[in-house]
Symmetry: C2
Subunit: 151 residues, 2 copies
DNA sequence: TATTGTTATACTCTATAACTATA
DNA sequence: TATAGTTATAGAGTATAACAATA
């Protein structure tokens, strides 16, 4: 008899009020966190972090590009790009070719190209997960709304 | 004489391709980061972190609520709630009142009530900043879309 | 047994400051 | 002078593991 009401709290059905639920910023933060958690889980099989995958995808799309340009495009500071690129280079996923005395162009290795294919599989699966969570119309309108506003 | 083309790169107008721009997940992450940066800046004047302000707002809306319930509502793990609540308590913004032998209800102090007013000023300013960035229709549809989906 | 709260610890991402070397 | 890249370090948020005390 009325078992549902007793599922969470035993005595009083003390309802929780969350004023943050009315805020767009709050939902933006929660939605982003949920998405990142989902995406990271997929990338863990490749032993890659999200920032690392974003750099690999950029190198694939812009072979020979300097890491400073990639960092600017992704909003990653040069101080954080340095160790990030070092890891990818040490793992043999990217190669550095000198452009001049101070800057080096980044290229994918053969191994890197294989890895990027798997990265895209995960990215596409994540977008589908988002689409499932949002329904098609909301997904499209959200993408259009957010596109080219931030950065 | 075509000065605009020379604003960014000197020699070649090497256009950067960013395939991530087509992804909703990417924009969600960037938008959330931009919003958090904006909001944190406002809270720094109060010497409060975003997670701390979210707890204070919840205590204001639910006086006497246990920290475990607040953590659940906000998606903050109990291991992270403990030091968070301790800081707010040490600063005299909240008070703990024992509910039973193991749980304690949280309440705002007078000082805490004053601080929450300023928190709301910052939150409202942030929402207005978001609305300005997005235009009214997109803002409303975004809020409706994200509402009650995540968590 | 499950819940409340705590401590310790580690990881990801981001930020600033200071620095070297090159254009 | 400005840019490319690096190192060191700190902070904010989140995660797991292990634990004591209580319901």
């Amino acid at each position: 008899m009325n078992e549902k009401q007793n599922q969470k709290s035993k005595r009083t059905t003390m309802t929780i009020s969350n004023p943050l639920e009315n805020l767009l910023g709050y939902h933006l933060r929660r939605a982003s966190a949920a998405m990142i958690s989902q995406l990271s889980q997929g990338f863990s099989a490749l032993d890659l972090k999200i920032t690392e995958t974003s750099v690999l995808v950029m190198v694939e799309a812009n072979p020979g590009m300097k890491q400073s340009d990639i960092g600017r495009a992704l909003g990653i500071k040069s101080a954080n790009m340095a160790p990030l690129v070092a890891v990818l280079s040490d793992r043999g996923l990217i190669r550095k070719k000198p452009l001049d005395g101070r800057s080096q162009g980044l290229h994918l290795s053969e191994e890197g190209k294989k890895v990027v294919k798997k990265i895209w599989e995960n990215i596409n699966a994540n977008e589908e997960w988002l689409a499932r969570s949002l329904d098609k119309d909301s997904f499209d309108s959200l993408k259009k709304t957010l596109n080219n506003i931030w950065l």
